[in-house]
């Protein structure tokens, strides 16, 4: 990932995407599911930001919120999603009409997304080519012939053998890895500034997974795009991330650059996650560490810090009452935890009042 860093140094240090305290709730008949309950992230040009967390922690909903494709009854209830467009102007995606023209021009054109299951993210009854050309024709001023040529060169770029034949193939005729490559070709066909990858390798076998990761890294180097990578695999994070956000129950419990998160984790949840990685170099035959308890039911959100029922460092009468705010420890390393005192967290009553 070294070249990415140098590119960043050369470019201006401005953020491409800035998500500020976004909350996305699902208004179901049974009650409100607070899938995303205050997430902040900032992604610079050419960088890779990894969002990690357990299933159901709101990673995917965060990604979908950025692209405004949260399925109903989900809605962004508050927060800002500032995105710097190609022409240099900043736009708040959270304010756009999710069916409107403005967001549609950004989708696929400036921000693209690839999904967890390449098996089902391609239409079963349309050719690969029809779907790539659709994206090209939507966003670029080209003829059908030119779009077809571009589609072939995109398939070639993502390493699909015999690209012009694959163009007329259907998704069921391709393997999982090839389908994900085709999805990447569709996503990158219009040279987006930002690629959102929602667990793109989870459904693939390990070898294919490594190939796809390499492919994304290569394409990122070539184009200088930013990548928002969602995963629950810390091994992947260590490999590709510049910055990391750890999420728990819709919250960004800790965020910072990849070295800080891996070598100096502050939040008990981050530490617990890192301890849960199996290591083959450990000499003692200790049992693999696992975080106690399970993720609470969405309707049964704990008061105070959402992690406190599972936390080893639980402070009675504090963690279950005080909702920890985001505090910055050093640079952009932030954490939401009462173990790291700020002026406010010393007086719980005052915190409750706000």
């Amino acid at each position: 990932m070294q070249p990415t860093h140098t590119r960043l140094d050369a470019a201006t240090d401005e953020a491409l995407l800035e998500v500020k305290d976004v909350k996305t709730h699902f208004f179901t008949d049974e009650g409100i599911v607070k899938a995303v309950e205050g997430v902040n992230l900032s992604l610079k040009r050419g960088q890779t930001l990894c969002v990690v967390g357990e299933s159901g922690c709101g990673k995917s909903v965060t990604a979908r919120s950025i692209l405004r494709i949260v399925p109903p009854p989900g809605e962004i209830v508050s927060g800002e999603i500032l995105f710097r467009q190609r022409d240099g102007s900043a736009i708040d995606l959270a304010k756009l009409n999710p069916k409107g023209r403005e967001i549609r021009e950004i989708r696929g054109g400036e921000i693209s997304m690839i999904f967890q299951e390449p098996m089902s993210s391609l239409s079963p009854v349309h050719t690969i080519g029809s779907q790539i050309m659709e994206a090209i024709l939507l966003h670029l001023p080209v003829t059908k012939q030119e779009a077809r040529k571009r589609a072939v060169s995109m398939l070639d770029l993502v390493g699909i053998p015999r690209p012009s034949e694959t163009l007329d193939a259907y998704s069921f005729e391709l393997s999982g890895g090839m389908r994900q490559r085709a999805m990447i070709a569709i996503a990158l066909a219009c040279e987006p500034q930002l690629l959102i990858a929602d667990e793109p390798t989870t459904a693939l076998d390990v070898t294919t997974q490594a190939n796809i990761l390499d492919l994304i890294a290569d394409l990122q180097q070539q184009s200088g795009m930013s990548v928002l990578f969602i995963t629950h695999d810390l091994g992947v994070v260590a490999e590709i991330a510049d910055e990391v956000i750890v999420m728990y129950l819709g919250r960004d419990v800790e965020s910072g650059d990849v070295d800080a998160i891996f070598h100096d984790p502050k939040h008990p949840y981050t530490r617990a996650l890192l301890q849960s990685i199996p290591r083959y170099d450990s000499r003692d035959n200790k049992r693999l560490y696992s975080i106690k308890g399970t993720v609470p039911h969405p309707f049964d959100r704990p008061t105070g810090c959402p992690f406190h029922p599972r936390c080893d460092d639980f402070i009675p009468e504090q963690c279950n009452r005080v909702d920890p705010q985001r505090i910055f420890l050093s640079g952009d390393h932030s954490v939401r935890c009462l173990l790291y005192p700020t002026a406010a967290s010393h007086s719980p009553d005052e915190e409750l009042a706000t």
């Binding site: 692209l67 494709i69 021009e105 997304m113 999904f115 239409s123 009854v125 659709e134 259907y170 569709i186």
Partner: protein, 325 residues
């Protein structure tokens, strides 16, 4: 594709063979032989020579497989389905026009059902759990719940009372026995709307539910989100992807319309006095007019099989996944 069609046509041969055996078995099922019922119904005494001639012609003294062979070889080689006892005419004279009219009504009803049900089903799925969806659902269930013949009576009353239209039948009185002409065809079209609406109501209601359920399944699929993430507008997205996929099962269900319309609509056809195969089949079964009944069953089955074949070929044509399976 050509191989697929050829294979399917080859599969037809044994199916048709089995169906002809079953249809013939239906002829033979009632106790006694049908000459007995002919003689018992005849007003003057039937002379023995005529009975013997008939016995000879149908081979009634011969074993069943010989009788079957005579019947089926008559159909295959000469198109001779035997005679109707009740009508005292060859079966083939009676059925062709009725079969044609049945086909016309079936096709119009099918078109009516699709044209009405698919847009409503799409609306109902896209606007899930809105007032519009509930309204459509309620109307749909009412349409499903009302028996066709009752709807026929109500609509006939309305057409007669408020529009003064001659209702019932497929033709105005002056055209019933006339030869085919442009005027007769136009007269048919002007009478067709009532039976088409009546026969189509229940099917429309059912198809709205099927379309809604199919589309709801597809709308939540990932490929829809992926297309949305490409920047496609909601309307184009809807018709290019989920609607397209949701229509496939409907195409394969198309063939069911034929048997339902031919046999299931018999009562409605009687109420409406339609010259279709339904009432003819009903009466022939009551009168133990077995060659007529058997031939109708055979022909309706053949039509159904052909309908299935057509819908299978259509499905293979529109759904690229089919041929490989």
């Amino acid at each position: 594709m050509i191989w697929y069609i050829a294979r399917r046509i080859i599969y037809l041969i044994p199916t048709l063979l089995i169906i002809s055996v079953i249809a013939f078995a239906v002829i033979q099922l009632p106790p006694g032989d049908f000459l007995a019922s002919l003689i018992s119904k005849a007003e003057e005494t039937v002379d023995q020579a005529q009975v013997d001639a008939l016995r000879e012609r149908y081979g009634l003294d011969e074993p069943i497989y010989v009788q079957y062979w005579k019947w089926i070889s008559g159909i295959i080689t000469r198109g001779d389905f035997g005679d109707s006892f009740e009508w005292n005419r060859p079966v083939s004279d009676l059925i062709w026009e009725r079969l044609g009219l049945t086909m016309v009504i079936s096709l119009f009803t099918l078109a009516f059902v699709w044209i009405v049900a698919i847009p409503i089903g799409i609306y109902s799925a896209v606007k899930k759990y809105t007032i519009g969806d509930y309204l459509v659902t309620i109307i749909g269930f009412i349409g499903l719940a009302i028996p066709n013949f009752l709807l026929a009576l109500v609509l006939m009353y309305i057409a007669f009372r408020y529009f003064g239209q001659s209702v019932g039948g497929l033709f105005s009185p002056e055209y019933i026995e006339a030869d085919w002409s442009l005027e007769r065809a136009l007269d048919l079209l002007s009478h067709l709307w009532l039976p088409v609406i009546i026969l189509g109501t229940a099917g429309t209601a059912a198809l709205i539910r099927v379309m809604r359920a199919n589309l709801l399944d597809e709308l939540s699929k990932l490929y829809v989100d992926a297309a949305r993430a490409r920047g496609l507008s909601e309307l184009k997205l809807l018709f290019k992807y989920p609607v397209r996929v949701a229509l496939n099962p409907l195409v394969s269900a198309m063939a069911w319309v034929f048997p339902a319309l031919v046999s299931g609509s018999a009562i409605t056809s009687i109420v409406l006095n339609l010259q279709t195969t339904g009432p003819l089949l009903y009466r022939s079964l009551q009168a133990q007019d077995m060659y007529l009944a058997g031939s109708l069953i055979l022909l309706v089955s053949v039509l159904t099989i052909i309908g299935t074949l057509i819908s299978d070929i259509l499905l293979a044509w529109i759904d690229p996944r089919i041929q490989l399976q």
